[in-house]
């Protein structure tokens, strides 16, 4: 696939996925204005933010403040590059694609921390520290469960990992993988029960001082990040484009939407977890479970 084709594929999937995510979140939030209103809501919200006056703070780190939202969106796009969408060759054929995805997802922490730091303001900074504590606690389990899918496939290329699932999807072969992946992915994307870096108790956390196009970019970046997480989740755990009757790209679409809706649903249904308790949960529960996942998969593969 040509570079231009991959660029187009990533752009279309992130924009469409982010749109779908915002609509789904709006509907689950109990919007009383019906489905039609929810369908135009992302466009309305975007147009509002684009014309909203940009407020600033006293002596902000201006460059970092502008850079952070673009970094978030760029990392979501980089993470989506190695994922095959419609068939064996539809995607960047990168030998170490899984590591590229992992690296992009862990640098998200840097974007969130900078975005909290840059306004030179208390609440965003507390949000940034919360994000650091949470992501550093789940970074290792996240990387472990993603890399474990490479053990039976004997390759770090996402395309080869999808092909290796033709007999049995890894969601069944590595039952611990997908649950841990979804929990840690939501925490890295500061979403759902783990959105305390943007918590209402610190008046919006890292985004407390952001407004206008900057905030629009930040929101788009977070939605795109969840789309990338869903894309990779379906590729390495749900067999990607593999499936009967329907064409490959449609299977990718169906599975991605299922994971995306599942992630969006947690935002309105699951109770939030305090940062201290979550840090404990990450190190004491998720990390050992991820190690068990590695050992079991290695044992089966041998």
């Amino acid at each position: 696939m040509t570079s231009l084709g991959i660029l187009l594929q990533v752009a279309v999937s992130l924009v469409a996925g982010a749109y779908l995510f915002v609509v789904a979140d709006r509907l689950m939030g109990g919007s009383t204005q019906g489905v039609r209103s929810a369908l135009v809501y992302p466009v309305k919200r975007l147009s509002f933010l684009m014309v909203q006056p940009v407020t600033t703070t006293e002596r902000p780190d201006f460059e970092a403040w502008i850079l952070a939202p673009s970094l978030l969106l760029g990392l979501a796009a980089v993470g989506a590059v190695p994922i095959p969408v419609g068939g064996p060759s539809a995607g960047g054929d990168i030998p170490a694609g899984l590591v590229l995805f992992g690296a992009a997802m862990l640098i998200v922490l840097v974007a969130v921390f900078i975005f909290g730091w840059a306004p030179n303001s208390v609440f965003p900074m507390i949000g940034g520290y919360r994000s650091a504590a949470m992501v550093l606690s789940v970074g290792i389990p996240f990387s472990l469960v993603v890399l474990t899918t490479a053990i039976p496939a004997e390759s770090l290329s996402v395309g080869v990992i999808v092909e290796a699932q033709s007999s049995l999807w890894y969601v069944l072969e590595q039952p611990l993988g997908l649950p841990i992946y979804l929990i840690t992915a939501a925490a890295i994307a500061f979403w759902g029960p783990f959105d305390l870096p943007e918590g209402a108790d610190i008046v919006g956390g890292v985004a407390a001082e952001a407004s206008g196009p900057r905030l629009a970019m930040w929101r788009f970046g977070r939605a795109a990040l969840l789309v990338t997480m869903s894309l990779m989740g379906q590729a390495v755990f749900l067999g990607g484009y593999l499936g009967p009757v329907l064409p490959g790209w449609l299977w990718t679409l169906v599975k991605t939407v299922i994971l995306l809706i599942l992630l969006a649903l947690t935002g309105r249904t699951v109770a939030r977890m305090r940062v201290q308790r979550f840090v404990w949960f990450g190190w004491v529960v998720l990390l050992p479970l991820a190690l068990v996942d590695v050992f079991l998969s290695g044992w089966i593969a041998l």
Partner: protein, 188 residues
């Protein structure tokens, strides 16, 4: 990637970027910016490794550095007498010693680069990652495993020192909350 003019250009560009970012670490007045310029410098080195066909090694370097630089920034902010690290502060100290050390190490490394005869052993074309794994768990296993155990000991020691119930007892022992020096009648 087959070596060609593009590879040489990319290596030079990423290398120059890494050096400039490394220089900016000391030119900034913010601890956070210093930490993340260092990360940009490492990303440049990782990109050079990727151009050199060591894709896994380059990406894993970038992956590790993102978390590490954040931890480093937090530690710097914790240890400095600078509320939350938000005040500007200089990043260079002991000018004469550091200039001497910098010039000295540059001369030694440049001399090594010019004089040393590097072995010509190109990585296997099929899969450099497999070759790397065999090297790590084969010939060089003893070195890497000893380094791993040493690092683990350092980590446990750091946690023991930083823990609230560390080796010097409770971190809050003897601390007294400041009294609120306000009398009720003052507020009319």
């Amino acid at each position: 990637m087959t070596p060609g003019p593009l590879s040489y250009f990319l290596i030079a560009a990423f290398g120059l970027g890494a050096v400039v970012a490394g220089w900016l670490v000391f030119r900034t007045d913010s601890m956070l910016r210093a930490a993340y310029w260092l990360m940009v410098s490492f990303v440049g080195v990782g990109a050079m490794l990727i151009v050199l066909d060591a894709q896994f090694l380059g990406l894993i370097l970038i992956l590790m550095m993102s978390g590490e630089m954040t931890i480093m920034a937090i530690f710097m902010i914790m240890f400095m007498m600078n509320p939350a690290g938000l005040n500007p502060m200089t990043m260079v100290h002991q000018h004469r010693t550091s200039i001497l050390a910098g010039v000295g190490s540059f001369l030694v490394l440049a001399w090594v680069g010019v004089v040393a005869e590097f072995p010509n052993r190109p990585a296997p074309v099929e899969d450099p990652t497999v070759a790397l794994g065999e090297e790590l768990l084969g010939r060089s296993m003893l070195i890497f495993e000893s380094a791993g155990v040493a690092l683990l000991a350092v980590m446990i020691g750091a946690i023991a020192l930083a823990a609230k119930q560390g080796r010097f007892g409770d971190a809050f022992a003897g601390s007294v909350e400041p009294e609120l020096d306000v009398e009720v009648g003052d507020r009319t």
